[in-house]
């Protein structure tokens, strides 16, 4: 197998005046060339730290990382020719430049000849539906347009490996879809390209990635294709319960015999509890707990497992739930 990215026992500790944060705690990652590889995890899991190490901006505290066969610590100068990074919500560049000027500027830091650079910028602007904005000032762009521009910046220099750190965070549905479509198209053009993308959107990982690593608290807790990861919860029945708001119920539900995992999200003013039941009989116990809580049942559905369910089972809580200290 041709490996694009490989880490071994990768660890990173941030030290500040009076505390230490272990952001990565022994990560072993292997990404084959040609893949769209997802790193999925809640805020603070260590995704950005991993990316910043892989793109040579941050040194690991210990362990090793190779990108395109090059050591990120020692061979970083050569590596920098071959990679690009685009982060979600980034506000880089210079507001008074025109979009095409800003893109040209960044391509020059890679020594790209101006004429091919400008041609490529034109093509990419066209592909992302931004041709009209080519002469607009960067400061006048909407967040969706800005992020498409940032993505183009990552593509102009034709990197071997493209790193995307939460590329669709805070984008509206349409812009997020355009970004994902372009990633697919760019990958389809050349089977030796590789994308590593972090996200905390389950849907995005499921829909866009060939393989996914689920990270939590600086560790990879599971790895596989989205289908494989969902398989892990396949033996459970997944039931969604919509209940009227009320007091704390999650712990009581988790305690019911036959409930393998449970999480809750708020949806349209209701609490949606997702339950993973290892046997059908558990539903009776669940209903008794709900009745006892005085909450109203507004809906019950049995559904297919998602990556979110896999995450809940692996980590013991939902992706959006606050970490309980």
């Amino acid at each position: 197998m041709d490996i694009a990215v490989e880490t071994r026992a990768l660890r990173r500790v941030y030290r500040s005046r009076n505390q230490e944060v272990v952001a990565l705690d022994g990560v072993d990652l292997r990404v084959a060339r040609g893949q769209r590889y997802g790193v999925l995890g809640p805020n603070g899991a260590g995704k950005t730290t991993m990316i910043k190490i892989l793109v040579t901006l941050l040194l690991p505290s210990s362990g090793e990382a190779r990108v395109d066969g090059l050591d990120v610590v020692h061979q970083f100068r050569e590596l920098r020719h071959r990679i690009a990074m685009v982060s979600g919500g980034e506000n880089v560049g210079f507001g008074m430049l025109k979009v095409k000027e800003q893109l040209w500027m960044f391509s020059q830091f890679y020594g790209m000849p101006s004429a091919p650079s400008k041609r490529r910028i034109g093509e990419l602007l066209e592909r992302l539906g931004l041709s009209e904005a080519a002469d607009r000032r960067v400061s006048a762009l909407s967040s969706g347009m800005r992020q498409k521009m940032n993505l183009i910046r990552g593509l102009i220099t034709n990197p071997r490996i493209l790193f995307l750190d939460e590329p669709t965070v805070a984008l509206d549905v349409g812009a997020a879809r355009d970004v994902r479509d372009e990633v697919r198209r760019w990958m389809a053009e050349d089977p030796t390209r590789t994308v590593i993308l972090t996200t905390h959107y389950m849907m995005e990982a499921d829909e866009l990635c060939d393989r996914v690593a689920i990270v939590n608290r600086g560790r990879i807790v599971a790895e596989g294709t989205p289908a494989e990861l969902k398989q892990r919860v396949q033996q459970n029945a997944i039931v969604d319960l919509q209940l009227s708001p009320g007091g704390r119920l999650l712990d009581a539900l988790r305690a019911v015999e036959g409930v393998a995992a449970a999480s809750v999200t708020e949806q349209d003013g209701l609490d949606r509890f997702s339950l993973q039941l290892s046997n059908d009989a558990a539903l009776g116990g669940v209903m008794r707990v709900v009745e006892g809580s005085g909450r109203q049942i507004r809906g019950v559905q049995k559904r297919e497992p998602t990556l979110e369910d896999a995450f809940v089972k692996l980590v013991g809580r939902g992706m959006a739930e606050e970490e309980q200290a």
Binding site: Y14, N43, G44, T48, K52, V55, T56, L57, L58, L59, R77, R80, H81, R82, I83, M85, S87, G89, E90, N91, V92, G93, F94, M96, L97, E101, Q102, W104, M105, F106, Q108, F109, Y110, G111, M112, P113
Partner: protein
């Protein structure tokens, strides 16, 4: 895999990084007031102070030339040395650092883009103040003075790179440090009076700043009657030595401190 040569990337980076500064100056002319008119008023005010003190006429020339070079010092401090601090906040530093270019080229580009504004300001002060107060210069010294000027500015930008690398390290304190450095340096480098009058020790310390010697040399060349601090040829040689020393030091320092910044997470912008 073949890449563009390091020299090619270096030169292209300088042009590309200068570009936004150039464009900013062109698209937003407000700087014509803040960067040209106000310093001009400052220089003129200084001239009136000297007049009130009944200083010899040639001192007016000192003030004008001091005002001219001051423009470049401020460009170095505010547009070069402290720039990484702002660039980091905007997330630009990450992208500059992870590109296969050098931070030195980024800094030089920044300085060059800003030199357009500094040159306009310097030329305005030189012309307006000289005409207004009838300062006269020795014509025969003009060409050599221009040469010394170019050398001085080169040394100054090399010093700026060295400072910028330190600011990469000092981050939050950068701004205060830059602010604190401004005033004493006006004094030490003898912006408004010849270095000779400072005495050997202070003048010597001040000589570490390329402007001190360069300015003194330029004054000796085109303002007849300037008291000699050190012989002209020695001054020029010292400025050349400064170019070499500051260029070398800044390269070493940039390399070392970039690595240090990668270790201490000072290149990246913290999002969580």
């Amino acid at each position: 895999m073949s890449h563009p040569s390091a020299m090619r990337i270096f030169l292209k980076t300088i042009v590309a990084r200068a570009y936004p500064r150039f464009v900013a100056a062109y698209r937003n002319r407000a700087w014509l007031i803040t960067e040209t008119l106000l310093p001009l008023v400052g220089t003129i005010a200084m001239i009136y102070v000297y007049r009130a003190l009944h200083a010899p006429a040639r001192f007016l020339g000192f003030v004008v030339l001091g005002g001219v070079l001051l423009a470049f010092w401020q460009n170095v401090i505010w547009a070069m040395a402290t720039q990484f601090f702002w660039d980091r906040g905007a997330g630009n530093l990450e992208l500059f650092a992870m590109a296969p270019t050098s931070l030195a080229a980024i800094l030089l580009g920044m300085a060059l883009g800003g030199a357009y504004v500094s040159l306009t300001r310097a030329a305005t002060i030189l012309l307006v103040a000289s005409v207004l107060f009838g300062v006269s210069y020795s014509l025969s010294g003009l060409l050599p003075a221009l040469g010394v000027f170019v050398l001085t500015i080169s040394a100054l930008y090399c010093l700026g790179m060295l400072l910028a690398s330190l600011f990469l390290f000092y981050q939050r304190e950068a701004w205060q440090l830059a602010d604190a450095m401004q005033e004493p340096i006006y004094f030490l480098s003898g912006f408004y009076f010849p270095v000779r009058s400072l005495g050997a020790v202070v003048g010597g310390v001040g000589s570490l700043i390329p402007l001190t010697l360069g300015l003194d040399a330029i004054r000796q060349l085109i303002l007849p009657g300037t008291p000699q601090f050190i012989p002209l040829s020695v001054e020029v040689l010292a400025v050349v030595a400064q170019i070499i020393a500051y260029a070398a030091l800044s390269q070493i320092s940039l390399r070392y401190l970039e690595r240090q910044a990668r270790q201490d997470a000072r290149l990246i912008l913290r999002s969580t």
